[in-house]
Amino acid sequence: MTSTYEPLSLNVPEPGCRPGDTPDFSDFEIPRAGEVKRPPVDVDPDTIRDMAFSIVRVLNKDGQAVGDWAGALTAGELRQGLRHMMTLRTFDARMQTAQRQGKTSFYMQHLGEEAVSCAFARALQPGDMNFPTYRQAGLLIASDYPMLTMMNQIYSNAEDPLHGRQLPIMYSSKAHGFFSISGNLGTQFVQSVGWAMASAISGDTKIATGWIGDGSTAESDFHSAMVFASTYKAPVVLNIVNNQWAISTFQGIARGGVGTFAARGHGFGIASIRVDGNDYLAVHAVAKWAAERARLGHGPTLIEYVTYRAGGHSTSDDPSAYRSGSEADAWPLGDPLERLKAHLIAIGEWTEDRHRQAEAEILDEVTTIQKQAEAVGTLGDGQAPSPRDMFEGVYETMPPHLIRQRQEAGY
């Protein structure tokens, strides 16, 4: 007997634009800056469900800070924020080039996403703990972690704090509230919830922050984190950096039919907000709101940062194979550095001259530090971590079988 139904077909989402196409973001809805209201930090998540479908924005097209979310930072703080973002961008460019020169095996840039981690860092207090992915080095830059130490890690040289055991950029700094980065995606999202639960169990006042990319929200640990954060009302800020791309895969593959990534929080009863990830002021204001909410015991917040991964996924990636080369330029939320710079100029707190001077200073600083790091060594050249060291730290005390293997290896 033949079926009376039409044959079924599989839905495979496709991005709007592939190599050779002209980018078109015309159907990308962007609310006006200042349009989204700022609720009280103890708000019932159910009453702000619309915030997961809008975008909190502070800077308007004229570079003015407008609306409820404006005014949290002084001009001095904003200049410092600009400097952090410029430093991260310069650092990225130097390390990207260093990889191309064979000084290290690997690097991942933050190009276009600098505001997210740099502004977020400013909302935290000493003792709080970030559980970052590999694309939040701004958390380190903005908390004055030494760039020299970062470069030593990237070069896996004798001064690498991780003794050459980790792939470049997988930093770790407990003292700077930066949890050890893992290559396994999504794992740290649920760990951040556990850290926050531990703070609550201990009657502490510290909070945790989890980080995940748009693509990795598809990992099961994203769901685990949301369940546990919701059940135990953990003092955690859960951050989704939606940069539109997971290597070559556009965000629609991870997002499926849901309107936004932030909307995923609704099913868990978690306060969920979407924010302009290229607006330093908006990122900071929302991060501060969520951190305060967590610190006051009102529970977790899910934040989706809408941004664009302007660079390749990594030094091993060529984005021209899967997306239009002009897509970054067409991205409607612009460049976070340019937008903050324009704002500071608009309010009379910055000039083109000062900007050029700052660029030169930062380049000089980063270059000087790079020379210091390279004087110690680069991958395979100069002072290297001892091979003996790879047997250390597997356990606190080296068990007999590892001692035998270390001796067998000749150390």
């Binding site: 396994n184 556990g194 984190a225 369940v227 546990f228 356990y395």
Partner: protein, 337 residues
């Protein structure tokens, strides 16, 4: 000293650890109010409060993942996976995170964590209530793997696991929860309450990890066993009339190779027994180590008696479970070799 079942000894060990250190927190599916499906955490929530002992959502990766975060904060989580058969959703967190954290961060972050899970068969548990997954943990650098065979060891090893600064996989043979089991399923169970090994010392008594115990001295053949197989091996030695030396490994990682080597060099023969499937099982590692360390002392090829390379069946329980008859045959065969 009190007579306890293994369940009571594990519960007592939790009590001792939680009383001694308020950083010890206990959670898992059904472990809070209800006290665990095997009663191993009974009464702890009432005594220590729901912030120290609580129920978790049914999400193994979430249980282990949050525990890793707690350990990184500075707590000592002791978590339960209801059956070892259900640990697989947490495997990424255990292998990629818990096991590697100290090494990858150069000690900046550590993961003092105990993951308890009932293991093993012999209870008509079928495919997903009988597995012995120890080999998937012993293969992972950075983990310790412990499996006790009696109430006193369970308490002592548990307390050492809690005190250990690294993640410990703590496998509890559920067939041994209420009494020893030698594979003679047609005979009545003896409770630990009427068994000399049911004597459990009071208070904080720890047994060091990485130390095996000779449970039966013998001259002819060394039997390497752990968990339920310790009793099967002892029974098989008596019934086969072979003067076997039975070693209860107790900790699989780190392994007490010295005790193993001394015994095999004395007996010249070795039989390895485990419930887990054979291929790439922990027995293969034991066999390799004995071969490397005792080659010139061996008088016969070593023999492994293990579960078959099949999923654990239901109706065919006793054809699958390596009982005293199969172990006895191996003991006789190795003596002929």
């Amino acid at each position: 000293m009190a007579q306890m079942t293994m369940i009571e000894a594990i519960r007592d060990a939790h009590d001792v650890a939680m009383a001694a250190d308020d950083k010890v927190v206990v959670f898992g599916e059904d472990v809070g109010f209800f006290g665990g499906v095997f009663r191993c955490t009974a009464g702890l929530q009432e005594k220590y409060g729901s912030a120290r002992c609580f129920d978790a959502p049914i999400n193994e990766s979430g249980i282990v993942g949050t525990a890793i975060g707690m350990a990184a904060y500075g707590l000592k989580p002791v978590i339960e996976i209801q059956f070892a058969d259900y640990v697989y959703p947490a495997y990424d967190q255990i292998v990629s995170e818990a096991a590697r954290l100290r090494h990858r961060s150069n000690g900046d972050f550590t993961c003092p964590l105990v993951i308890r899970m009932p293991t093993g068969g012999g209870i008509f548990g079928g495919q997903t209530h009988s597995q012995s997954p120890e080999a998937i943990f012993t293969h992972v650098s950075g983990l310790k793997v412990v499996i006790p065979s009696n109430p006193a060891d369970a308490k002592g090893l548990f307390l050492s696991a809690v005190a250990d600064p690294d993640p410990v996989i703590f496998l509890e043979p559920k067939r041994l929860y209420n009494g020893p089991f030698d594979g003679h399923h047609d005979r009545p169970l003896t409770s630990w309450k009427k068994h000399p090994l049911g004597d459990v010392p009071d208070g904080d008594v720890s047994i060091p990890l990485g130390k095996a115990k000779i449970t039966r001295e013998g001259a002819d053949v060394t039997v390497l066993a752990y968990g339920t197989m310790v009793y099967v091996a002892e029974a098989a030695a008596e019934e086969a009339g072979v003067d076997a030396e039975v070693i209860d490994l107790r900790t699989l990682m780190p392994l007490d190779l010295d005790t193993i080597v001394a015994s095999v060099q004395k007996t010249g023969r070795c039989v390895i027994v485990h419930e887990a499937t054979r291929t790439s099982g922990f027995g293969a590692e034991l066999m390799s180590l004995v071969q490397e360390s005792c080659f010139y002392h061996l008088e016969a090829p070593m023999i492994r008696v293990t579960g078959w390379d099949t999923p654990y069946p239901h109706a065919q329980e006793w054809e699958y479970f390596p009982g005293p008859a199969r172990v006895g045959e191996a003991l006789k065969k190795v003596m002929e070799g």
